[in-house]
């Protein structure tokens, strides 16, 4: 029993990291279970988890785009030479 308890009892920091991984779909089944267990009683984890989910939702809604790395390198080169190729 104590070993099960030990397995499920994770620190707040560990719980937050699992929560981060969950935002990217990279948490394992057991990690999710550990997080769920902690969410039952830890308000700090609960608050972090809610905010984190909100951030993921906002990022998805905003449909953020990024210039590709190659294009950025190209721009950097053009800026450093100061001339249009």
């Amino acid at each position: 029993m104590s070993s099960i308890k030990k397995y499920f009892l994770i620190s707040c920091e560990e719980a937050k990291q699992i929560c981060d991984k969950m935002q990217y779909g990279e948490a394992t089944f057991w990690e999710k279970m550990k997080l769920k267990f902690r969410l039952m009683w830890c308000d700090t984890t609960k608050s972090y988890s809610e905010k984190n989910g909100k951030l993921t939702k906002l990022c998805n809604e905003a449909k953020l785009k990024s210039l590709d790395a190659q294009k950025k390198e190209e721009m950097k080169k053009k800026i450093s030479t100061g001339t249009e190729v």
Binding site: L58, K65, L67, K71, K72, K78
Partner: protein, 186 residues
Amino acid sequence: MPKNKLNPSNWVDLYADYLFNYTITRVNDSVVAEDLVQETFLAGLKSAANYKGDAAERTWLISILKRKIIDYYRKINSKKGKAEIKMGYSNKEDGEGDWLEDHIADPFDINAEDAMQNEELGLAIQECVMKLPEKQAKVFTMKTVQGIDTEDICKELNITPSNLWVIVHRARTALMDCLENNWFKK
């Protein structure tokens, strides 16, 4: 004495994504947006001597970009002709009905409003990303915006997965605080 200074070597890392998102919502074409951002940087470089340092570097670059976007629309408008922006009835048959009523915005069309809000949200997030330390901003963008695999990011940046998650955690925490102040309290 000028408060702000230009640092063109950092422009791409600091502002390229912000300007790109700003442009793409206005021109709706990623290739055109890329070109306009590039033209903005080059125009900025050319007129760097005119920069007085009153405005922040980013504000100054945006003002250049705005002009570039207007120029772009002027150019395509003159190419295609102005028929598409002419409104009104061309013959008598069409003339039946209420011109004003037909052209009023549809109150049930919430898409435009949603799109506007998403655009503002996108820029608010980008502003917060720009405030992050360079490495955090890079890792967050690679992971969240570009959706690159953890393994590939680790290889490219030469970091371990646990390092990556620590960086992601710091970035996300800072972003949550920043958005709390700049988005939800607005």
